[in-house]
């Protein structure tokens, strides 16, 4: 895009109350992300691969995530949402910064500093639902095995007991028990996405990072999965980071929204305040680009569309 939104300051609609004191335990954040960075090196073409540049995929991102809340993470494609999510869960190592997580088993820990053994303990509490339902499922495993695998790895259930849990979950995400025996290739895009969701939920995690978890679903199945996530949230006090492009879904499901642009958090605040009073010009552009499902309300392409770079 020709317009460069990065020159504008970040807008923070709410402060970090936990740091101002006077907070009871309930509102103690589950996650405190501070100055998180992830830079990817860019190498030259020569025989000796010399680093010639870097991509600042996540550039000094800070936010708090409260227990039981759903934080929407939105922004330009390529702005660093997936990278941010993966660094938080330590699927990638951070370049700098800290991620304090209030763990049930280990107490408060900085995920960035954890070693492999500690991380393995923590995995049960944090799960990710992946963006790409095509490549994230092992094509050689049956759906039942894919969903049940985390339980087996952590030795929490096996055999008939596991089968029962898997069947229940399949039904919860709108699939059928006979689907257990099938392989991923026999499912449509949306069906595969639900397999990924079932796999993440089986461990009863306290933190879920859902990366475009419902974008491959038709609106009716999407509604089912959103309702499911909301039920689980109430039932298990689930805390969620919800990465998504569909802003109507974000508005529906999220308590707060964070907007990323070129690796930086440019705006964060309560959902209604972001949608009603967006401050950052990029946020405004984003909101102006939502196509209305009413054919009589035409999207103003000239407002939404900027010359591309």
């Amino acid at each position: 895009m020709s317009e460069d939104f990065s020159k504008y300051p970040a807008f923070i609609h709410d402060s970090f109350p936990a740091e101002e004191g006077g907070q009871d335990d309930l509102s103690k954040p589950l996650l405190r992300v501070r100055d998180l960075r992830k830079f990817f090196p860019v190498y030259g073409q020569g025989v000796v691969r010399k680093k010639i540049n870097e991509v600042r995929a996540v550039d000094d991102v800070s936010f708090d995530l409260y227990r039981g809340e759903t934080l929407g993470l939105v922004g330009e494609s390529g702005s660093g949402k997936t990278t941010c999510a993966r660094v938080i869960l330590r699927a990638l190592d951070a370049t700098a910064g800290s991620v304090h997580f209030d763990s049930e088993v280990l107490g408060e820990v900085d995920l960035v500093q954890m070693n492999g053994k500690q991380l393995k303990l923590l995995r049960r509490e944090m799960q990710m639902i992946f963006q790409d339902p095509f490549s994230s499922l092992n094509p050689r495993m049956t759906v039942g095995d894919i969903i049940g695998e985390p339980m087996l790895i952590h030795r929490l259930a096996s055999g008939k007991a596991l089968e029962k849990i898997v069947t229940e979950l399949l039904e919860k995400v709108g699939l059928k028990s006979e689907h257990r025996e099938r392989y991923p290739h026999a499912f449509s895009g949306g069906q595969r996405q639900r397999i990924g969701i079932a796999r993440a939920l089986i461990m009863n995690p306290s933190l879920i990072v859902a990366d475009e978890a419902v974008s491959a679903l038709d609106v009716s199945v999407q509604a089912q999965v959103i309702n499911l996530l909301q039920d689980l949230q109430e039932e298990f006090h689930l805390t969620t980071i919800f990465v998504a492009h569909d802003l109507s879904v974000v508005r529906h499901i999220c308590n707060r929204v964070a907007v990323m642009y070129q690796g930086k958090l440019v705006e964060i605040g309560p959902t209604e305040s972001i949608f009603e009073k967006p401050q950052h010009p990029y946020t405004r552009r984003l909101l102006a680009s939502i196509p209305s499902p009413d054919p009589d309300v035409k999207l103003n392409f000239s407002e939404a569309v900027v010359e591309s770079v």
Partner: protein
């Protein structure tokens, strides 16, 4: 609806597609019939797993084992040429080659899968042209630059020497679109082309498809879950449920006044502005006890749309301006 055959670019009649699995036959597409008018945009929406992609793959003759087209005909009507009956072409028929790329081209959901990582984008688009047209590589490159410019890739002369990974996701998607359009297909099939993109880039791509469509008169089959995209892009909509079309009409008819209970449920499930934190209606909560499983044949309603309902219910349907 457009029903004059001469004015259609695609006609699908009684299409059936089935997959043989260990647990029996999955009937992915059942008795699907529709036409796309020349120069029009038809949206295909519906349940996930209802057979939208399988229908699209059938048009391209890309159904693979264990899948099989078990019935029906698919006909393309190229402008000024003999109609091509897609599913009667033998595997070696040269017309099959024309079909993919020059008559019909498809934008797949995941742009990465359509691009080779080891060739420059310029070479890849050139290749697409040269396999379908007799011309020198130099001439093809001029076309490539022109097309890249059209899809909004800046400095196309320079950028055609770059590899896919040197572009952002949105740019790669535009490159795939350039590749799909460079042979001026009669019909463009776009399967969820913008689902992976943020709404600002989505708006750019939608505008691009619209502009190119205006300019070249391309007809489009647009598969999407996003009713906003349908409302902004399509002229006509077909709604699929469990392998069948249950309702088909103009965008205003179907989105403004849905008749089939499944379509009603689908539209009710879109999260609205006032719905925050409430439970979303789902198909089962909207449809309730109404039977949506019985496959009534599609019949025209008073306003001309087609709907799969018992005749007496169709008679009671309201009229909507199209």
């Amino acid at each position: 609806m457009i029903s004059d055959k001469k004015e259609s670019v695609l006609k699908i009649d009684g299409l059936h597609v089935a997959f043989e699995t260990d647990n029996g036959v999955v009937k992915a597409v059942r008795d699907v019939c529709f036409e796309i008018g020349r120069g029009r945009v038809m949206a295909l929406v519906g349940e996930s797993g209802s057979g939208k992609s399988v229908t699209a793959f059938s048009i391209m003759r890309l159904i693979q084992k264990p899948g099989k087209i078990t019935g029906g005909t698919i006909t393309i009507f190229p402008e000024g040429k003999e109609p091509v009956e897609v599913n009667s072409l033998g595997a070696k028929d040269p017309r099959l080659f024309d079909l993919r790329g020059s008559l019909v081209s498809m934008i797949f959901q995941e742009p990465i899968s359509a691009l080779s990582p080891v060739h420059t984008i310029g070479d890849q688009i050139c290749e697409a042209i040269l396999t379908h047209r007799e011309m020198k590589k130099k001439e093809a490159e001029v076309l490539v630059v022109e097309m890249l410019d059209k899809v909004g890739i800046p400095e196309p002369q320079m950028r055609l020497r770059q590899y896919p990974h040197e572009f952002s996701g949105g740019m790669r998607q535009r490159i795939v679109i350039a590749m799909a359009l460079v042979c001026r297909p009669e019909l463009l099939i776009a399967d969820e082309p913008t689902t992976a993109l943020d709404v600002t880039i989505q708006a750019q791509i939608l505008k691009l498809i619209k502009d190119l469509q205006d300019e070249m008169g391309t007809s489009v089959l647009f598969i999407t879950h996003d009713m906003g995209v349908v409302a902004q892009m399509a002229d006509d909509v077909a709604v699929m449920y469990k392998g069948r079309i249950v309702e088909m009409g103009t965008v205003r008819q179907v989105l403004k006044a849905p008749c089939h209970p499944y379509t009603k449920g689908l539209l009710a499930a879109i999260p609205g502005v006032g719905s925050a934190q409430e439970r979303l209606p789902t198909i089962s909560s909207v449809v309730g006890d109404t039977d949506i499983e019985t496959p009534y044949p599609l019949r025209p309603g008073p306003d001309g749309r087609l709907v799969s309902l018992p005749p007496d219910e169709i008679a009671e349907m309201g009229m909507v301006e199209s």
